[in-house]
């Protein structure tokens, strides 16, 4: 970056911070990484999100200020199955499909969400997994016919979905995870487990004051397989026939090689 461009950027930032007369507090945030590569040695990672609140005016105090960080992965349909005992063995029975479940959802905040904002605000901004719109669930019986479940039953399936995702470390709730360093700086580390789905993620930082959202910044985070993992995955899904043929031929060659070695002994 040239010196002149740098000065221009700094001036713009300064203008943003000090320019507007009656503007409320503003956020400046960034992620430690914007791209996570899943390589052969990937066993999960951590992502660091940090930022600062740019206060306007001397009377702005740090009281009643909350930061909520939401990292949300690509949404897709997820089926929740319930087992039932049939003839002595446990088999999958009813199922409910939720059409838009984020593959990963982490929320971290300075204080527990309940005391951070009212339910109306949390629902409007879809903060917290209970407040995310998962689409209209469809229930199916064991024979695949559509069923109508009682609201209680449906709630059980929803709870099970969240419980299972939590167990897989794909839904994370970390109240108190956002730590302030002094008055304006804050940081949070979020775990990304090894079984994380690939795709485009969004990291959104909310600044709340007295339970109201004052500012929000969303930044993209891209998680993708890389290197050999990416090549094999793409190959297996993109050119499945050739992939299968090569896999089988490779195994046959290994078997042939083994018999050749065996004969030399």
């Amino acid at each position: 970056m040239t010196k002149r461009a740098l000065i221009a950027v700094l001036l713009t930032l300064a203008g943003l911070a000090f320019g507007g007369p009656a503007r409320a507090d503003q956020l400046v945030t960034d992620l430690s990484e914007h791209k996570i590569a899943i390589k052969s040695n990937f066993t999960g990672t951590q992502i660091l999100l940090f930022g600062a609140i740019e206060a306007n005016g001397p009377d702005e105090r740090a009281l009643n200020r909350d930061i909520v960080v939401v990292i949300s992965g690509p949404a897709r349909a997820v089926t929740v199955r319930r087992k039932a005992r049939v003839g002595g063995i446990w088999i999958n029975h009813d199922s409910v499909t939720f059409p838009k479940v984020p593959g990963y959802y982490a929320v971290a905040s300075t204080r527990p969400l309940e005391v951070t904002a009212g339910i109306d605000v949390l629902q409007r901004e879809q903060i917290g997994i209970d407040n995310v719109n998962l689409g209209v669930p469809v229930a199916q019986g064991m024979d695949g016919s559509e069923e109508i479940l009682s609201p209680d039953d449906e709630k059980d399936f929803l709870k099970a979905l969240i419980r299972n995702k939590r167990r897989d470390k794909l839904f994370i709730n970390d109240p108190g995870g956002v730590v302030f360093l002094g008055q304006t700086l804050f940081r949070v580390t979020v775990d990304i487990p090894a079984n994380v789905p690939v795709g485009l993620y969004t990291a959104t930082v909310f600044l709340l004051r007295d339970g109201q959202v004052v500012d929000a910044i969303a930044s993209p985070l891209y998680i993708d397989k890389s290197g050999l993992e990416r090549f094999l995955y793409r190959f297996a899904h993109g050119d499945a026939l050739l992939y299968g043929l090569l896999a089988v031929l490779g195994s046959a060659a290994a078997g042939w090689l083994a018999s050749a070695v065996l004969r030399e002994r």
């Binding site: 052969s40 999958n92 499945a240 195994s251 078997g255």
Partner: protein, 308 residues
């Protein structure tokens, strides 16, 4: 040492997988079994998705059966005509097995189906092997050898139409039973990720009355092609063949088999067979136990569309 599997989408310990490949390879070298019926449940215990375990396992069976088939073809102990007939049935069986597999995945019962089929076969085979090895041990103590009796009387099998002459097996029988056995084994191969020698070999001996000298070679010959087809079809239809997992298993299996073959010539067969039988029975019971005990969580989740 962890490695991330691209298709199974999970990290596994390389040494554990390699060790499993070697152990199963050792057993398959020693007993002349494919080892698929041991490997697939082991992979499932390890947390590999059952569909990936089955799909990947078929490539490992290709490797071990190629080694065996080459050895038998050199000894001339393959009835290629019989192998071809059973293969025809096997291809049809494998295709329909893949179809059934897909259907089971769609209705969410694939895990159950794999478990139930394994429980049934592992317990039956384990019990039969145990009985056989105990009998052999008792006979050895009494100082006699047991041979598989080839009864002289004709069964209903020999009354069927479409007869064909099989010179190598010295048989003149209908092609319907070999095709039926091949079909059944092909179907099991696609659903269970096994070669199916444990069905094929008794079927050839007891139903077709083939001479025992050509049975293993002919069975291996058929298994090579059926599992190769199964592996390709699992890749195309379900994208469940994990090349990284398969590679580790094949390398471990190949090395293990070398030692197994050598160990087999030194050790007492009956005792080891009894041990293998106990292992097989134990795995069957473990899988069966999981079916009848209440699960820790009644609910399970599955992504509807695979990730892109």
């Amino acid at each position: 040492m962890q490695i991330y599997l691209p298709i199974a989408e999970m990290p596994v310990n390389v040494l554990v997988i390699f060790g499993m490949g070697m152990t199963v390879g050792f057993l398959s070298g020693m007993f002349g079994v494919g080892g698929g019926f041991l490997m697939t449940p082991l992979l499932i215990f390890l947390g590999i998705p059952p569909a990936v375990a089955v799909g990947t396992q078929s490539t490992q069976v290709v490797a071990s059966s190629v080694t065996g088939a080459i050895a038998h073809s050199k000894r001339g102990s393959i009835d290629f005509k019989m192998g071809g007939i059973t293969l025809a049935g096997g291809i049809a069986g494998s295709v329909s097995g893949i179809f059934i597999f897909r259907l089971l995945v769609k209705i969410g019962q694939i895990d159950l189906a794999i478990s139930v089929i394994y429980v049934v076969f592992l317990t039956i085979i384990g019990a039969l092997m145990m009985a056989e090895s105990v009998r052999a041990m008792l006979a050895a103590r009494a100082g006699q050898s047991v041979a598989i009796g080839k009864t002289a009387h004709h069964s209903w099998i020999h009354g069927l139409p479409l007869r064909m002459r099989f010179h190598r097996s010295r048989l003149y029988i209908s092609v319907i039973p070999p095709i039926a056995i091949g079909f059944f084994v092909g179907m099991l191969s696609a659903i269970m990720g096994v070669g199916g020698g444990f069905i094929m070999i008794p079927g050839m001996i007891y139903l077709l009355r083939m001479p025992t000298s050509v049975v293993i070679g002919t069975s291996l010959f058929q298994i090579v092609f059926v599992t190769a087809l199964t592996g390709v079809m699992h890749s195309v239809e379900n994208q469940t063949v994990d090349a990284v997992l398969g590679f580790i298993l094949v390398v471990g299996g190949v090395i293990g088999a070398q030692y197994g073959v050598r160990a087999a010539s030194r050790l007492r067969g009956e005792h080891l067979r009894a041990l293998l039988a106990a292992l097989v029975l134990l795995m069957g019971l473990r899988l069966g136990w999981a079916l009848i005990t209440p699960p820790a969580d009644l609910y399970s989740i599955v992504d509807v569309a695979p990730h892109s």
